[in-house]
Structures are given as structure tokens and as C-alpha cells.
């Protein structure tokens, strides 16, 4: 292939620069996309529903007709996941579902590697109406990865979780 020698050397050098520049830009410039960007000024929420491959169950069964994770007299996480990454800020998590008989599940916000960020045990009276089971508000001083919003049940608990809603909250006065 007949190309002048000077061009043979110039083209690879320009291409090498382009490759290095692009990889460096994508590596150092990101992340470029932030689904919570509006969170600083207004409430932005994210809704995880049973069976969506974001939240899962271990101590429950997935009821396909009712779209819910139903406890099955086994101790363990009725809901775990969605392993979401969050920027520093204030957030609120709500669990939505029904309670078949009085239950005392433990609600946890857990980060991968960072352990339990917030946890609460609630006494839930029986209620067939779909309603918010519990709500936890928490702050993240630093970005966190792999966050889970768990519901841990005991053998005696009988409840079902349909959805988990995560929402951003405006910063409290006096905090950045």
C-alpha cells in the first residue's frame, strides 16, 4: 500500500493520541450520568417492585398474581437488594405491603462493605390494605455503593412486601 513515509508515522501517532485521550476522558471524566441530580432541590423517587429483578426475596415466596413477596414462616430476609449506589445526601426509604398477622420485622439500610447505616424494628398490626409498612430517613455523608433496603422477618411474622420506594430529601437547614 503506497502511502508516503511521513504519513505512515504521523497517522499512527495521531491515532494513538486519540485512543489515549478518549480512554482517559471516559475514565477520569465520569460518571457523567446522575439519576439523582435533581435531588438537591426537589423530591426525586425510585420505585422498586417485587419481581422486578432489582429487589429479591430469600425468606419469602414471590406471589406473581399479587406482585408481592410473601413471608413463608422462615427466618431471614423477606426483601433484599437493590444494590444501588447513592451520592451524599438525605434519603427516605418506604416499604409498602400488607400484614396478615401482627409482626415485628426489622427494617435495615445496609451498604456493601459499610455495614448497617440505619435499622429499626417495627410492630405492625394486621392490615389487609396495601399501605406503607415502615419508613426510614437516613443521611449519607459520603457516596455509598451497593445499598440494600432489607426487611428481616422471624418465623412468626406474616406479611407481604409489594414495593420499596427510595426518595431524595432536601438537605436539612444548616447542612450543606
Amino acid at each position: 500500500m503506497n502511502i508516503p513515509a511521513c504519513r505512515i508515522q504521523a497517522i499512527p501517532m495521531v491515532m494513538a493520541g486519540l485512543i489515549l485521550g478518549t480512554v482517559a476522558f471516559l475514565l477520569e471524566g465520569g460518571p457523567f450520568f446522575n439519576r439523582w441530580e435533581k435531588g438537591g432541590t426537589s423530591r426525586v423517587s425510585s420505585l422498586y417492585v417485587a419481581g422486578d429483578d432489582r429487589i429479591f426475596t430469600d425468606a419469602g415466596n414471590y406471589d406473581k398474581a399479587a406482585h408481592e413477596y410473601r413471608s413463608r414462616e422462615v427466618e431471614g430476609p423477606l426483601v433484599f437488594g437493590p444494590y444501588v449506589g447513592l451520592a451524599p445526601g438525605r434519603y427516605s426509604v418506604s416499604w409498602v405491603g400488607t400484614v396478615q398477622q401482627a409482626s415485628q420485622p426489622r427494617f435495615e439500610i445496609v451498604s456493601m462493605g459499610g455495614g448497617v447505616i440505619a435499622a429499626d424494628t417495627a410492630s405492625l398490626p394486621p392490615s389487609r390494605q396495601v399501605a406503607t409498612l415502615h419508613n426510614i430517613t437516613f443521611s449519607l455523608p459520603h457516596a455509598a455503593e451497593g445499598l440494600e433496603f432489607r426487611v428481616i422477618v422471624k418465623r412468626t411474622d406474616a406479611l407481604a412486601v409489594r414495593a420499596v420506594e427510595l426518595a431524595t430529601l432536601p438537605p436539612t437547614p444548616g447542612q450543606p
Partner: protein, 474 residues
């Protein structure tokens, strides 16, 4: 003094190595790893109802092979033979020595990302074969400008576009090079030649796309599928999530609805799968019969109103696409059937694994070594041939043939990867099949030239030493 071997012996030796390479790849991956797309192709081939979402050419080909032997074995054999044969021919053209070409071929097919890409019985394998054939035509045409070589090159380019419409991204640098060469010969003025080359390239690309669409419609009677809907829905979802306002047309939100909080929960920057092919009833509607005009208008309007959000999202997707902030199994390599396939079909691959397949799968799972499969690592690997052929001191008077082939291959791989980062909607390994083969080929060409140069330098030094000793003795 060595006696040169006859040409027939060289050809026989190279033929034997080529046969062994094909045998190795085929036996390693038989019956080939295929995805849901290929099941769809097989379904279309059997039913006779074609759409242009997949390659109608491949659908027809699969259909014909099913008369001989049902399943993917024959399509896979064809794909492997074409790809390895084209790679061997290109190496033979680019390198002077038969032994160097044979050794380079062995190294090429053993490079882990290249070998894994050759295991796919997907359109990506046929795309590799078509692109290597295009390169073969280019080398022939540039060394011996003949009309038949040009026709061969354009024919192979048309095949590549008919296999994957996005082949135009990979063809752009190659066609630009060809057009520029032709323009420079006719118009010595640089600007005029550049302008002419640009116009020629755009015209050829439009002609290739147009002809492939016409063939799909009139020769194969394929219906329009509008595969670009996925990318449009993906972009609209990203802009909606980022701006916190639903910009997707209501008709695309599905019968059960898809509220914005749910979209935000499921949205992943690396793939549209979770919002379009979700396991429950909540998903965006992607259907050939849907109102395509409405979606297109919404997409244009959203990008015009939020260009910053669109560009930021695409930059993030491009980063995911080349493996930055994304280390998913399917981006690295695929070693078994599509996860969405039935257990019966998937169990085909679970029965036994060839040693080479097991080795590369282990490599892909190794936390420290899996980096070799990540596209950004592979793109950086292109620096080696660029430096070898670009710096005069490394390989003086580098064989222009090998150097220019390598540069053209890297340009093609790079333009394809960047363009796919802008338009595709899933960061998966098989979309990197051509860049892997192109860069792998460039790397072995550079290595072969480097070895040749070092050997030559040693021989020259040895000869000089012998001569110096003789002078001293005399």
C-alpha cells in the same frame, strides 16, 4: 547458503496450519455459542416470515443449512472457516514470510478475546469474516489497482452491511482511505482530493445501506422492524430520568403503565434490557407495529430540548460500553447460551467444555487477569502496533504493507467502537467482536515485524562481527 523451498511446499505448510487452526477453533466451541437473536433467526428461517431486525441474508442462509443438518453446526462451521481463512489470507498478504504468517495466525486465534469471539455463532462472527474479506480486497486493490479488486471490496462491504447494518461505522475509515487514494491519484490538490474523497465515502455508505435495504425488502421480502426503536427508547428513558419528567410517549409505556419512579429504579446506563425486556408486565413497548413516527418525533424533541443530558448520558454509556464502570460477565465474554434461553437449549453448552474454553473461562473469572477481556484494555493494546509502526526507530522502513494494514484495522476498530457507544443500547461483549479481531490482527502484525527486525539486526551484527574477525585474521 540455504536452498529456498519451492512455493508449493510453503503453500502446503500454510494450508496445514490453517486447517489445524480451523479445527482447533471449531472443536473448542462446537456447536458455537448463540443468543436469543439466533433463536429468533432460526425461528424466522423455519417459518419463512422475515423481518429486517436481523440479517435476512443470514436468516435465509440458516434456513438453507437446516435441510442438511438441523441446528447451528453448519452455520458455525461456515462462519469459522470464512473468518479464519480471511484472517490467514490477510496475514499472508501483509507479511513477507510464510512462516511468519503461519505463526501470526496461531497467535491471533489464541489471543483470548479473539478466540472467544470466534466461538460465537452469531451475526458478529459473520461480520468478522465479511470485514476481514473487505480488508483483503483493499490490500489487493491498493497493491494492484484493478477494477475487479474494487468490485470484490465493495461486494464484501455490502455483505458486511447486510450482516450488520452498523458495519458502516467499521467501514468508514476503510472506504475513506480507498476514496482518498483514488482522489489523490486524479486530483493532486490536497483540499480538492479531500473534498472528493469525503463526498465519495458518504455516497458509497448511502449506496451500501440503500442497496442492503432494497435487497432485504424485494429479494428476501422482509418486513421493516425499526430496530433503532430500542436506542430511541433508551435515550428517552435516560433524559426522562435525568430531567425528572416523563418524555416517553404514553403509547410506549405499556398496558400496566411505567411511572417515572419505576423507570428510575430499573434504568441502567449500560443496557436497555431491564426497561424493555423486563421479566414482569412493566416495560416500554418495542414493537414493529407501534407508531414509529410518534417515537421519532419525541426523541428528536427531547434531544433538541435537552442536548446536555443526552450527551452526558451517551458519554456514560460509551464509558460502560468500553468497560469503564462496567465489569459485567456479558461484557467480558460469553461462554454459554443466552440466559433467557430455555434450560434444554442452554444445557447443550453445559455438557462438556473443551480445555481451551475452560482455560479462557477461568481467565475471564480471574479477578486479576479478566482485564484482558475489557474493551478499554484492548483499545489500549492498539497502542503497541501504533508505536511499532509509527516510530521510525522501532522498525525502520517498516514493511509498509503490514503497517498500513494495521493502522487501517485499528482505525476501523476505533471508529466502530466509538460510534456504537453513541448509538447502541447494550454494552455486551459480542459487539466488540470486530474490534477485538481487528486490534488482535494489528498486534500480531506488529509483533511479527518487530521479531523480523530484531532477527535481521542480529544477523547483520553477526555478519559484521565475522567480517571484522576475518579482516583481523588476514
Amino acid at each position: 547458503m540455504t536452498v529456498p523451498r519451492p512455493q508449493s511446499q510453503h503453500a502446503a505448510f500454510f494450508g496445514l496450519v490453517l486447517f489445524l487452526c480451523i479445527l482447533l477453533v471449531y472443536s473448542t466451541w462446537y456447536p458455537g455459542i448463540f443468543t436469543q437473536d439466533e433463536r429468533d433467526i432460526l425461528g424466522q428461517a423455519l417459518s419463512g416470515h422475515l423481518h429486517d431486525g436481523h440479517s435476512p441474508l443470514l436468516v435465509k442462509f440458516w434456513g438453507l443449512t437446516q435441510y442438511l443438518k438441523p441446528g447451528p453446526a453448519i452455520p458455525y462451521l461456515t462462519g469459522v472457516v470464512v473468518a479464519v481463512l480471511a484472517a490467514a489470507s490477510l496475514l499472508r498478504q501483509a507479511l513477507r514470510s510464510t512462516f511468519a504468517a503461519a505463526a501470526s495466525l496461531c497467535c491471533l486465534i489464541l489471543l483470548p478475546p479473539v478466540c472467544v469471539s470466534l466461538g460465537l455463532v452469531t451475526k458478529d462472527l459473520f461480520f468478522i469474516g465479511a470485514m476481514l474479506t473487505v480488508m483483503l480486497g483493499v490490500v489487493r486493490h491498493v497493491t494492484q489497482p484493478r477494477r475487479r479488486h474494487l468490485v470484490f471490496t465493495l461486494g464484501a462491504a455490502l455483505l458486511a452491511v447486510m450482516v450488520r447494518i452498523d458495519a458502516v461505522f467499521a467501514l468508514l475509515p476503510i472506504l475513506s482511505f480507498l476514496a482518498w487514494q483514488a482522489a489523490v491519484r486524479r486530483h493532486p490538490g490536497r483540499m480538492r482530493a479531500l473534498l472528493l474523497a469525503g463526498v465519495c465515502t458518504v455516497s458509497i455508505v448511502l449506496a451500501l445501506v440503500g442497496v442492503s435495504k432494497l435487497i432485504a425488502k424485494y429479494a428476501f421480502h422482509a418486513t421493516a422492524y425499526h430496530a433503532e426503536q430500542v436506542s430511541m427508547l433508551f435515550d428517552l428513558a435516560a433524559i426522562s430520568v435525568e430531567t425528572d419528567q416523563m418524555l416517553i410517549p404514553a403509547s410506549r409505556l405499556g398496558p400496566d403503565g411505567f411511572p417515572l419512579p419505576m423507570l428510575r429504579a430499573r434504568f441502567k446506563t449500560g443496557s436497555a434490557d431491564a426497561i424493555i425486556w423486563s421479566s414482569d408486565a412493566h416495560h416500554l413497548v418495542y414493537a414493529p407495529g407501534a407508531d414509529h413516527g410518534e417515537l421519532h418525533r419525541a426523541w428528536v424533541k427531547a434531544i433538541a430540548a435537552h442536548p446536555r443530558e443526552y450527551l452526558l448520558f451517551r458519554a456514560e454509556y460509551a464509558a460502560n460500553f468500553i468497560g469503564i464502570r462496567n465489569n459485567e460477565d456479558w461484557l467480558r465474554a460469553q461462554f454459554s447460551g443466552d440466559a433467557s434461553m430455555t434450560r434444554d437449549a442452554a444445557s447443550l453448552w453445559e455438557q462438556s467444555k473443551a480445555p481451551l474454553q475452560a482455560l479462557y473461562e477461568w481467565l475471564s473469572a480471574s479477578p486479576s487477569l479478566q482485564i484482558v477481556y475489557l474493551p478499554w484494555c484492548w483499545l489500549l493494546g492498539a497502542l503497541f502496533p501504533l508505536l511499532v509502526f509509527g516510530v521510525r526507530q522501532v522498525v525502520p522502513n517498516a514493511a509498509a504493507q503490514a503497517g498500513n494494514v494495521a493502522v487501517l484495522l485499528i482505525a476501523s476498530a476505533f471508529s466502530y467502537t466509538l460510534a456504537m457507544g453513541l448509538v447502541s443500547a447494550a454494552a455486551i461483549g459480542r459487539y466488540h467482536s470486530w474490534p477485538r479481531m481487528a486490534i488482535g490482527m494489528a498486534i500480531v502484525l506488529a509483533a511479527a515485524e518487530l521479531v523480523r527486525h530484531v532477527a535481521k539486526a542480529r544477523t547483520a551484527a553477526g555478519t559484521a562481527a565475522v567480517q571484522a574477525a576475518r579482516v583481523t585474521t588476514s
